[in-house]
């Protein structure tokens, strides 16, 4: 990874019992580099059945940003090799298939990422899965060969399932959902 990210954590409300964090926002910000990370804000207010630890929130925001950077790179370049760094399970399988199809038909996609507002909606009590809603600002350009055939520039919502690995959180499921699903 050539890019570096600056991760900041703003704790808006922090109870004396550390684990009972009611609201906090994690911002994974960007240093302007060629492969910069998109901006990701995580809101974990009212998360159930388990509250989120500060380090977990920071890690999730960072790896979600890395996942979007890697996905955008793979969809544009047609190279799926790096997806395993941040994706696993269904999300990885589907992306790999999609990129394979893209290469077969000569289509590729460029994503101009203007940032993500992540809202954590479920965190399993054993800490093995977290479900989040992402409200993303994306500009998606579709090319057939070098010819631009479509541009979409509307807010998008994604349902995200992330699970922890040895040293990171992986995106296990990523599904675009209709606006105001949550």
């Amino acid at each position: 990874m050539n890019s570096s990210a600056h991760v900041t954590l703003a704790l808006r409300k922090f109870s004396p019992r550390f684990l009972k964090v009611a609201t906090f926002v994690v911002a994974a910000c960007v240093l302007a580099t060629a492969q910069s990370l998109p901006q990701v804000h995580l809101d974990a207010a009212g998360l159930a059945p388990r509250s989120i630890e500060e380090l977990t929130g920071t890690t999730i925001a960072r790896h979600y940003a890395l996942a979007w950077r890697d996905m955008a790179g793979a969809l544009e370049s047609g190279r799926a090799e790096g997806l395993g760094e941040e994706f696993t399970g269904f999300a990885k399988d589907r992306l790999v298939r999609r990129i394979g199809d893209q290469n077969q038909v000569g289509v590729h996609v460029r994503i101009v990422d203007h940032g993500h507002q992540l809202k954590a909606v479920f965190y399993s009590s054993d800490g093995s899965a977290m479900q989040l809603l992402d409200q993303a600002q994306l500009e998606i350009q579709t090319f057939d060969g070098n010819k631009l055939i479509d541009t979409q520039n509307v807010p998008r919502e994604y349902m995200v399932l992330m699970t922890p690995g040895a040293d990171r959180w992986y995106v296990r499921d990523l599904e675009e959902v209709p606006a105001k699903t949550f």
């Binding site: 589907r94 999609r98 199809d101 055939i149 349902m159 399932l161 675009e176 959902v177």
Partner: protein
């Protein structure tokens, strides 16, 4: 129905395309797309393609892309295999210019539950100690995001079963419950429609309750033996659970840890002068006995 038209060509290219239309019979005019707003995963459907002539049709989904030449004026068939993955799909039709539209593929009815029950062993009668989480998927492994009834059915080793009906929100249903009073296997089955998944949790005795020992003196030796060690619900603590006997006499303090065998713990001490012996198991203290050794 959703209708989105889009032309991404520069003006010059559009004009060139229009000019081409005039000279190339069979080449399409502006194509319009009418797509359904929502489609269920794995359901085939068709998109009417207005106009005439040839065009290139693209379908871009989360895990699949279709590109083919089509003849405008006829329906564009979308196969069930093209829309198995839930999410947003984009349709682009390019003739002299491109039109695009999007539609949503929603998960099919629940067909599979991914069910986690934790922990695998739990002491009896422990508040909020059992967690069950079920993820609801359709036959294509799409998370079913529409609210879905999920019933957690609990079958204890003894006594009657009960259920905890819940509703999956965004594809996830969960519940937390107390462990039941009796040791043994407890089966928890997550049920949604015709789909069910069962998991088993082993309930074990909780901490010892009313721990008592008796002493049988024989010369300078004393044999200490507990009553059958049980928890407050009457469940026998498993063999191997460690019981600690502590003796304080003229020679000082000594502790012997011994496992429960056949329900009781037994140990033998030599005692020197007046001695006090206590027994404990985990965090539970039992009774004390006072003896007078002859050494």
């Amino acid at each position: 129905m959703q209708r989105i038209s889009y032309c991404d060509f520069a003006l010059g290219e559009c004009l060139a395309g229009l000019a081409l239309l005039c000279v190339l019979p069979g080449w399409a005019g502006a194509a319009e797309l009418r797509v359904p707003t929502t489609v269920e995963a794995g359901q085939s459907f068709s998109i009417p393609a207005e106009g005439s002539g040839q065009a290139i049709f693209y379908l871009l989904g989360p895990d699949h892309i279709v590109k083919r030449s089509v003849t405008l004026g006829s329906d564009l068939a979308i196969q069930s295999s093209d829309v198995r993955t839930a999410g947003r799909y984009q349709v682009i039709l390019c003739a002299s210019s491109c039109s695009s539209a999007t539609f949503q593929v929603k998960a099919a009815p629940p067909a599979h539950l991914s069910f986690f029950l934790r922990p695998s062993r739990v002491p009896v009668s422990t508040p909020q100690s059992i967690d069950a989480t079920a993820f609801v998927f359709d036959q294509y492994s799409n998370l079913v995001l529409t609210p879905t009834a999920v019933d957690f059915r609990i079958t204890p080793a003894t006594g009657s079963g009960f259920s905890r009906p819940t509703s999956a929100q965004h594809g996830v249903a969960w519940m937390r419950m107390d462990s039941t009073p009796h040791e043994g296997q407890v089966q928890v089955t997550a049920v949604s429609g015709n789909t069910e998944e069962a998991r088993v949790i082993q309930q074990v005795a909780a901490e010892a309750c009313g721990l008592r020992m008796k002493a049988i003196a024989s010369g300078n030796e004393v044999t200490l033996e507990t009553d059958p060690v049980r928890d407050c619900s009457g469940n026998a603590l498993p063999d191997g659970t460690v019981v600690s006997f502590t003796k304080v006499d003229r020679e000082g303090k000594s502790t012997v840890d011994t496992p429960i065998k056949k329900g009781v713990a037994r140990v033998q001490f030599s005692i020197h002068g007046p001695a006090q012996i206590s027994v404990a198991c985990g965090v539970v203290l039992g009774n004390e006995v006072t003896l007078n050794g002859k050494l």
